[in-house]
Symmetry: C2
Subunit: 148 residues, 2 copies
């Protein structure tokens, strides 16, 4: 349990101030269900920090993304979703998305094989297209048990 202090330190390192809205947003992200939209985060903010604006939520999420603490992704409905990036490789995962109801499931199956193939592909692509590859996403789309 890294506690909340680590965040403060990591903010300082990046010349960012440690404020109440940021602390609360990080808290929401770390405890609540994953894959939250900005509006959902905004909604669950009221108890701990009423008066926080939706604008601040968006700005904080963008900052967290820029610092690499948060991953932003698109699940097909019109809004972006956000999740904390855990440390090392044990948090590495991808998404299984129901295209009808929007349900999102994390999966970590075959991560070994996946990383191996991803590495090979990254190397090939970086060389062939002179790209600096920084990240990747893998997602499976389909119908969940309730929607099929």
């Amino acid at each position: 349990m890294p506690g909340g202090h680590q965040w403060r330190h990591r903010f300082r390192e990046n010349a960012c101030r440690w404020t109440m809205p940021r602390e609360v947003i990080l808290d929401v992200l770390s405890r609540a269900s994953r894959h939250m939209s900005a509006k959902e985060i905004y909604a669950s903010l009221y108890a701990a920090c009423p008066g926080t604006g939706l604008t601040t939520v968006y700005r904080t999420l963008e900052l967290l993304q820029r610092l690499g603490f948060v991953r932003k992704f698109d699940a097909g409905d019109g809004q972006s979703r956000y999740e904390l990036r855990g440390e090392g490789t044990q948090d590495h995962h991808h998404h299984l998305i129901c295209t009808r109801c929007g349900k999102i499931i994390d999966f970590r199956d075959f991560i070994e094989e996946e990383l191996e193939l991803v590495k090979k592909t990254e190397d090939a692509l970086a060389k062939k297209h002179n790209f600096q590859i920084l990240d990747h996403n893998i997602e499976f789309l389909g119908l969940c048990d309730k929607c099929r």
Copy 2:
């Protein structure tokens, strides 16, 4: 070259009428550069079918997607992009996206290994979560040669 007639037939099969806007939009999609946004398609429509509304472009794209003729995807900027789905497996590919300038590159490297891993993962996920998996996306994010 399947020509334009096949489309007409495939529309009929699905109880959809064959109209000028639909023909022209399919033509644009098949000849022009891939990964076009609705607005881009709308813009390149004027010559062949002036007066076509942007609304019709959106409606047609949604139909094409529903019929499985078109793949809709998100490249990180605020708008959806569309590309024709080719027939068999020789068209199967994924995307390498520059997060700064938005450049998109198709790649088909290691499709063999990819399909193998994807199959394994699909089976495992379908069983474990009782999902009916219909599609998948793999994307690499990074900086292109000009942006790095």
